[in-house]
Structures are given as structure tokens and as C-alpha cells.
């Protein structure tokens, strides 16, 4: 019998990470009101998810599933399609960087870069939607640059948080336990 790329157990884990992304978006609050600040939480979750299920495409599955959940929950300001694609592209962006950097999320620099590019996936989706739909140009001239940098910084912080979480999980023996289960 042909072996499936993701096992049922891995898919369940990825679905749980997707739910965590949504819970983080709804429940976790930071006093920061800069655009993209929630990336601290969800990029950390995606980086942990990509290490727990170490296969290319894992982040995309988390992104797409959380996108479906977010769209049905009515999250976001720009409609369901925009919300779905924004979340999905977070996963796709992360996967592209994981592929380029050989999924080495135990390396702090790699985790930060994956966090940045995953989060930029969301920014680029929103920006492209604006360009395609003919949205007016930014009211504040440097608003776009500010938003870009904000997404980069919060994505990087998310990568750092994800890396710290992975370190803590490793120290606690989580990955050894998972390997035994396999």
C-alpha cells in the first residue's frame, strides 16, 4: 500500500496547531498597537508546528487550515477571501523559507528568517489585494514602509519565541518522546 505523506496523527497535530493560531489571534493580547503585532504568537506556533511535524508542507497545512477557520469565524477587515489567503500565505511563506534553509529551525537565525518570511506572506497578501482592488494609496506617505518593518520585526520576534519554545520542548524531552511514539 502506498504510504501517505502525512500520517493521520501528524494531520491531527497540524489541525491542533491551526486551532492554536486562531486561539492566539483571538485570545492573546499585547499592549502594542502596531500593525502585525499578533505575528509574535502565530509565527512562534507555526515554527513549533513545523518542527513537531518535520515535513515540507506542514506549515502550509497549518496556514490553510487556520485560514479556513479564520474565514468562518469572520476574522479580519477585508473579507473572507483576504483572510483565508493571508493565513494560508503565512504557512506557504514559512514553508518556502524552511525549504530554502533546510528546515533547520533549531538554528536561531533560521527560525528568525522563517518567522520574518512567514509573516511577510500575510503582509504581501494584504498589500497585493489593495493593489489589485485599486485601494487608495496610503494616507501617510511612509505608512507602507512602517507596516513592512513592523511585520518584519514581529515576524522575527515570533521566530525567536518559536525557537525558545523548541529549545524548552527539547530540554523537556518532548522530541525524544515523539520519536519513541513513532
Amino acid at each position: 500500500m502506498k504510504q501517505r505523506y502525512f500520517s493521520t496523527f501528524q494531520l491531527i497535530l497540524l489541525a491542533l496547531f491551526s486551532a492554536l493560531v486562531i486561539v492566539a489571534k483571538i485570545a492573546l493580547r499585547t499592549p502594542l498597537q502596531l500593525s502585525g503585532h499578533s505575528g509574535i504568537f502565530w509565527m512562534a506556533i507555526i515554527i513549533v508546528g513545523a518542527r513537531v511535524v518535520p515535513k515540507l508542507g506542514a506549515s502550509s497545512i497549518i496556514g490553510v487550515t487556520s485560514g479556513i477557520l479564520a474565514s468562518f469565524l469572520g476574522l479580519g477587515d477585508f473579507g473572507a477571501l483576504n483572510t483565508f489567503l493571508s493565513y494560508a500565505m503565512v504557512g506557504v511563506g514559512s514553508d518556502l523559507m524552511l525549504w530554502l534553509l533546510r528546515s533547520d529551525t533549531e538554528n536561531l537565525v533560521v527560525a528568525i528568517i522563517v518567522g520574518i518570511f512567514g509573516h511577510l506572506g500575510k503582509f504581501l497578501t494584504k498589500w497585493l489585494f489593495g493593489v489589485i482592488t485599486g485601494a487608495p494609496i496610503g494616507f501617510v506617505a511612509l505608512g507602507l514602509l512602517q507596516a513592512f518593518l513592523s511585520y518584519v520585526i514581529f515576524g522575527a520576534l515570533g521566530g525567536l519565541l518559536g525557537w525558545l519554545t523548541l529549545k524548552a520542548l527539547k530540554r523537556a524531552g518532548f522530541f525524544a518522546y515523539m520519536a519513541e511514539k513513532r
Binding site: G74, D77, M97, I116, L120, V131, I137, G138, V140
Partner: protein
């Protein structure tokens, strides 16, 4: 290829993406400057009174407006920006605005608009205000019953129209 080279490639991709985003934004601003009248800087929001253009809400005037904010009940997110009331008072003065005056804020790209009376806008507790969206455009938000959820808010605002009673 070693990991250092891969990280360098990632850095280059990041710079290229930034360049594309800023380049497209620059071209859009150039285009908007060409198309807009001289008294309407790109990105500004034109204000029309009874069909006639009277002023343009420009970023340079933001320093004259007091900041306002509220936490929306739907997502618990802080919406912060400038009250529509203060914007209209800055450009039109109180004499041009009566309780029954209708103010319509619209977005052509999103094909959405909302008409409110000056009485509703003038009540500060209604928090009818502009919030700066992630991509730098203005979003009309409020705590007014019926106009307090994200679906009803006007994103990418590009016009303000005032109709006298």
C-alpha cells in the same frame, strides 16, 4: 550550498521584496499625483459639500487633531486615530454643520459607504473616527450601535461628502 549562502539568499530576497513593495507604492503615488488636482496631494481624502469640492484631508494636518481610541467589542483590538468630528471641524468649521447635516464616507475600491448625521458624529462617545489600517489607508470605525462591527466599517476611505438639510 552551505547554510551561510542560503541565509544570504534569504536576505537578498527580503531586500528585493521591500524594493518591489516600495517601488510599486512610489509608482502609484506618481500616478496619483499626475491624476489628482493640484490642491489634492496623493493619498489625501477630498471633502465635498453639496457636490462641490471644498478641501482635502491631508496627513500634514494630523498634528492639529487630537488622537482618539477605543477597544472594539468584537476582537478587543484598539482602534486609534482621529475623530471624524475633529476632521470636519478643522476643514469646515461648526457653522457649516447642523444636527441634520448628512455626512457620507465612502470607499470606491470597496464599493461601500456610510451616511451619518452630524449629531451622531458630534457625540464623542460614539467614537466615529478614522483608524489607520495596516497598509496605511483610512478606515472609518465607530461604537455606534449598528455601526460597531468590522463588517460595517468602511475600509480604504477615499471620499467624504456633506449634504446640507
Amino acid at each position: 550550498m552551505d547554510q551561510k549562502k542560503r541565509i544570504l539568499i534569504a536576505g537578498i530576497i527580503l531586500v528585493v521584496i521591500l524594493g518591489i513593495v516600495l517601488g510599486v507604492d512610489f509608482l502609484q503615488r506618481q500616478q496619483a499625483t499626475k491624476e489628482a488636482p493640484a490642491d489634492m496631494p496623493p493619498g489625501s481624502i477630498p471633502i465635498f459639500v453639496d457636490g462641490g469640492f471644498v478641501a482635502s484631508f491631508v496627513p500634514d494636518d494630523l498634528s492639529q487633531l487630537p488622537a482618539a481610541s477605543f477597544v472594539d467589542a468584537e476582537e478587543g483590538k484598539t482602534q486609534d486615530g482621529w475623530l471624524l468630528r475633529d476632521v470636519l471641524l478643522l476643514y469646515l468649521g461648526e457653522d457649516n454643520l447642523q444636527d441634520e447635516t448628512q455626512v457620507t464616507v465612502s470607499s470606491s475600491s470597496r464599493e461601500k459607504s456610510r451616511s451619518l448625521s452630524w449629531a451622531e458624529i458630534d457625540q464623542q462617545e460614539n467614537m466615529v473616527m478614522f483608524d489607520l489600517s495596516g497598509r496605511g489607508t483610512l478606515k472609518l470605525v465607530s461604537t455606534l450601535p449598528g455601526f460597531d462591527i468590522r463588517d460595517s466599517w468602511i475600509q480604504d476611505v477615499d471620499k467624504i461628502e456633506i449634504t446640507s438639510p
